[in-house]
Symmetry: C2
Subunit: 192 residues, 2 copies
């Protein structure tokens, strides 16, 4: 009935995500982003709406392709699941560009204070990760992997979530991987 789209929707979204992830919302200009994603401005506005809509879509795309929750849910040992999340994080930080940080955290810092809808989305993501940590901790407890002096598993989950978020911010300026390894080492020492 009509002319078909010539680009892959999620491919362009992924490129837009890369750009916003690197430059943030205010730091990104649509004219530069247009060059980066490889389609013309009008096509972009037709398919995704305005800048904020595209940004929000990119943010949702980010959480869909992130792996922490999946790792926490699909590793049988609770303690090992948590350790693996942090191990994977360190491996990523050693491999890729550390300065990009976590897109969710970046957005939390930049936009959450000025966009309540995005703030709500981020808070729900935080709770989703918190729950995943909690369930892994509950499994760990059943398996006798939790030191008895820690009774409040929800507090532990929040603590781990916080450490993870902190790590992605700390990694933005730190060049020495030892710093990040030290942080993870002590963070996970509560299991010893």
């Amino acid at each position: 009935m009509a002319r078909p789209r010539e680009f892959d929707t999620t491919e362009v979204l992924s490129k837009a995500m890369d750009y916003f992830w690197k430059y943030g919302y205010e730091g990104a200009s649509m004219q530069e982003l247009v060059k980066h994603v490889g389609i013309k401005a009008q096509s972009l506005y037709n398919t995704y709406g305005g800048k904020r809509d595209l940004f929000f879509a990119a943010l949702k795309h980010y959480v869909n392709q992130s792996t922490a929750v999946h790792t926490l849910e699909h590793t049988s040992s609770g303690k090992e699941a948590i350790a693996r999340v942090f191990r994977d994080l360190l491996a990523d930080l050693a491999r890729s560009d550390r300065t990009r940080g976590c897109f969710i955290n970046n957005t939390c810092v930049e936009l959450a204070p000025h966009d309540s809808e995005i703030a709500d989305f981020i808070e729900k993501e935080r709770i989703r990760l918190e729950r995943a940590y909690y369930l892994a901790l509950a499994r760990a407890k059943e398996q006798g992997e939790i030191n008895e002096r820690y009774q409040d598993l929800m507090a532990l989950a929040r603590y781990l979530n916080n450490a993870q978020g902190g790590l992605m911010v700390t990694a933005k300026t730190v060049t020495d991987m030892t710093v990040l390894e030290d942080i993870v080492g002590v963070t996970l020492s509560i299991f010893d």
Copy 2:
């Protein structure tokens, strides 16, 4: 010899800090900032230089008026010094606007990847705080306040610094203070 300045230099700088702290660098417009600080644009440019110069000056002003390092250095008990830093942090978060977060952390997220001079400044600040934590931990160790299974005091200092940074990011979306209290509780439980 010449016409005297009609405004207080550090007073205006403090107002500029408030504005940049709230809106970030890219999110802040000079025309709005001018209204907020109460002097005309030309006076602003005469005294502080361009937008980035003013922002950098505001950031330096922020670290000069921050209290964590001072608290760590001027509390005799090392353990108590560290506990007090986190207690003060929680009190601040309960009292004032949580969404502002920490100006250094905000800037670390927004600008560190694109401005190496600012990244260097932030990294030096991180190291300064890390050292303050380390010295407090060394005092704590002398006073027998450190569990013997923790030998690497620098790793502990980095861990505490990371938890503090994470807390300021987490606080941006969290409305329930219990979450933040849980985080601090578990973070400091390594001393038990």
